[in-house]
């Protein structure tokens, strides 16, 4: 009678989960928690893209339904584009146009189409959705000279800004680097959901940031932030680093290897005669 029951293990369990960013000790509040099955993607010789499962839970004490939106973005990099124009029957490239920074990877997965979840302005403010994705462009167009080449930096107030912007998104979507999946967040049980992050082979290496948003009545109620690292490992990493750190020696090794293979083959074949 005097012995108290041991504390239920369920209380300890949340401690092992990644701590939600903005909602501590809010068990009574509406919030979302999420984790990745694998926070580290290794790129080796058998790499053919990766699929990582993001799973999470929604704590919703209110009677109103809530929507989950998963946003994953890869490392930013400048994007240069050329536009082909026809000149006397021949298709020529224009001068390159530069966006100062666009995510190397961007995907959203949600419970229903983003436009039904929140208002245009809200999505724009949060940068959620391919149409609202922040692609860095200054207010004034200018030219920069790098390595002796003059690039035109796109102005976000220019007439053709939208065309260029749409082109970046279309080309990245074609390479499976940008993706929108309006049914990508699946509820597997009450309050328990999963979404898949599909990385193509061409996905850039570096640090990826995942945001899991919880929307209710078009307002963001809670967010959980996660990180994911994509890195080259093993021989691939060694070769890549060798090629970039000691490029001249690397080139020499390539040539010697080629010459030796040629020499070896002619020796092997001449002996057979």
């Amino acid at each position: 009678m005097q012995a108290l029951p041991p504390p239920p293990p369920a209380i300890e369990a949340p401690l092992t989960l990644p701590a939600p960013d903005r909602s501590e000790a809010t068990t009574g509040e509406l919030r979302v928690a999420a984790a990745l099955t694998d926070a580290r993607v290794r790129v080796d010789s058998s790499f053919r893209g990766a699929s990582i499962v993001l799973f999470g839970a929604v704590f919703n004490p209110t009677p109103e339904p809530a929507d989950v939106v998963v946003v994953v973005r890869g490392p930013d990099a400048p994007v240069r584009l050329v536009k082909k124009t026809r000149n006397m029957g021949v298709w020529l490239n224009s001068r390159p146009v530069l966006f100062e920074g666009a995510p190397g990877f961007y995907m959203t997965a949600s419970t229903r189409p983003l436009s039904e979840i929140a208002e245009f302005g809200q999505l724009r403010r949060l940068g959620v959705g391919v149409d609202h994705l922040r692609i860095d462009a200054p207010e004034e167009s200018r030219t920069v000279t790098r390595y002796g080449v003059r690039d035109v930096v796109v102005s976000r107030l220019g007439d053709d800004y939208l065309d260029w912007r749409r082109a970046v998104i279309r080309l990245k979507e074609a390479a499976a680097l940008y993706d929108t999946d309006p049914k990508g967040v699946e509820f597997v049980d009450r309050g328990l959901f999963r979404a898949e992050v599909k990385l193509p082979t061409v996905a850039p290496t570096g640090k990826y940031y995942a945001e899991v948003w919880l929307f209710q009545d078009g307002e963001p109620q809670s967010v959980s932030n996660l990180t994911l690292t994509v890195e080259k490992v093993g021989l691939e990493r060694d070769i890549y680093e060798f090629a970039h750190r000691r490029p001249w020696l690397y080139g020499l090794v390539c040539v010697l290897l080629a010459a030796l293979t040629g020499y070896g083959a002619s020796r092997v074949f001449s002996r057979r005669n």
């Binding site: 298709w91 080449v149 690039d151 082109a167 080309l171 691939e236 001249w248 080139g251 010459a259 040629g262």
Partner: protein, 307 residues
């Protein structure tokens, strides 16, 4: 069966690459050329970034040319002195070509220049070869005697300074024309990823009028040096050489080259030239065609400033 290429950053089916290497190697052994002009377009077609394709397959050219030179040297058919003079020019051309290619790539005009060079050079050379060899085949069929060959070299070859003796080639001419040819081949090697054999061989035959037996061996020797320099420069300056890609291509390539060389003896020279001319012409037209076809998307990602 897929393998991830660390520099190209794509994954490819490696047996396809081995077979591709073998086929190109076979062609190269059969005709005594590097075969680069065939390899680069196919690699691009397989989804490898053009800059990596051009730079990586250069080492395939090195390997197949090395085994070719060893074979020709055994027959005493390599004029090393001539080859070295040309290779000196090749080094200069490669240096200039790699810088030019880097600049064009950043300008977003590399595709245009590559396509135009393929169209012009391959189209012209292929057309000439096909025409010349078909005429000869037709003449042989009709049983006509061979016309007297124009044996005189252009006079300007003799007017230039820096004369050198090239006993193996049977020449006593200025070192400048071979050097200039080398420069030209070096630039092509950097821009098109080719050894330049398809241009050097006719130029050595018809302009310099070298002894025919020494032409192929010497051009291969020059190609080894020029392409080796190009590979090192591309690796050092642009970091676009993928050692995994080039090794896979090599494996098929060296075997194919040996088999091709063995087959070469079974055909008449002009039949081989007609076939090669046809291949060269087709590749040139195919590469040039993209300039005239409406692209599926008028926007295109240009290579970044960071890489």
């Amino acid at each position: 069966m897929d393998i991830y290429l660390p520099i190209a950053e794509v994954s490819v089916n490696w047996p396809t690459l081995v077979i591709l290497g073998a086929v190109v190697g076979f062609v190269s052994g059969l005709f005594g050329i590097g075969g680069g002009f065939l390899m680069a377009p196919i690699l691009v077609f397989l989804g490898i970034p053009p800059t990596v394709a051009v730079a990586s397959q250069a080492s395939h050219v090195v390997a197949s040319s090395t085994s070719g030179v060893i074979r020709y040297a055994g027959q005493g058919a390599v004029d090393f002195r001539m080859g070295l003079v040309m290779a000196g020019g090749g080094a200069v051309g490669a240096l200039a070509g790699v810088e030019l290619f880097r600049y064009l790539r950043l300008l977003g005009q590399a595709d245009l220049v590559v396509a135009l060079s393929y169209l012009v050079f391959l189209g012209v050379i292929g057309g000439l070869m096909l025409n010349e060899s078909l005429t000869e085949i037709l003449r042989r069929r009709r049983g006509l005697p061979a016309p007297r060959k124009e044996r005189r070299r252009p006079l300007w070859l003799y007017g230039l300074p820096l004369k050198m003796k090239f006993p193996k080639s049977g020449l006593y001419i200025s070192a400048l024309p071979p050097f200039g040819l080398g420069v030209f081949a070096g630039v092509l090697s950097a821009i098109m990823g080719v050894g330049g054999g398809f241009i050097l061989v006719p130029a050595m035959l018809y302009v310099l009028r070298m002894r025919a037996g020494a032409v192929v061996g010497t051009s291969l020797f020059q190609i080894i040096i020029t392409t080796a320099i190009t590979t090192i420069l591309q690796a050092g300056r642009n970091q676009t050489v993928d050692i995994v890609l080039s090794t896979i291509l090599l494996l098929g390539g060296v075997v194919g080259a040996q088999i091709g060389a063995r087959f070469a003896g079974r055909f008449r020279a002009e039949e081989l030239r007609a076939a090669l001319g046809l291949i060269v012409l087709l590749v040139g037209i195919q590469m040039g065609l993209e300039l005239f076809v409406r692209p599926s998307d008028i926007f295109l990602i240009a290579p970044g400033v960071a890489d």
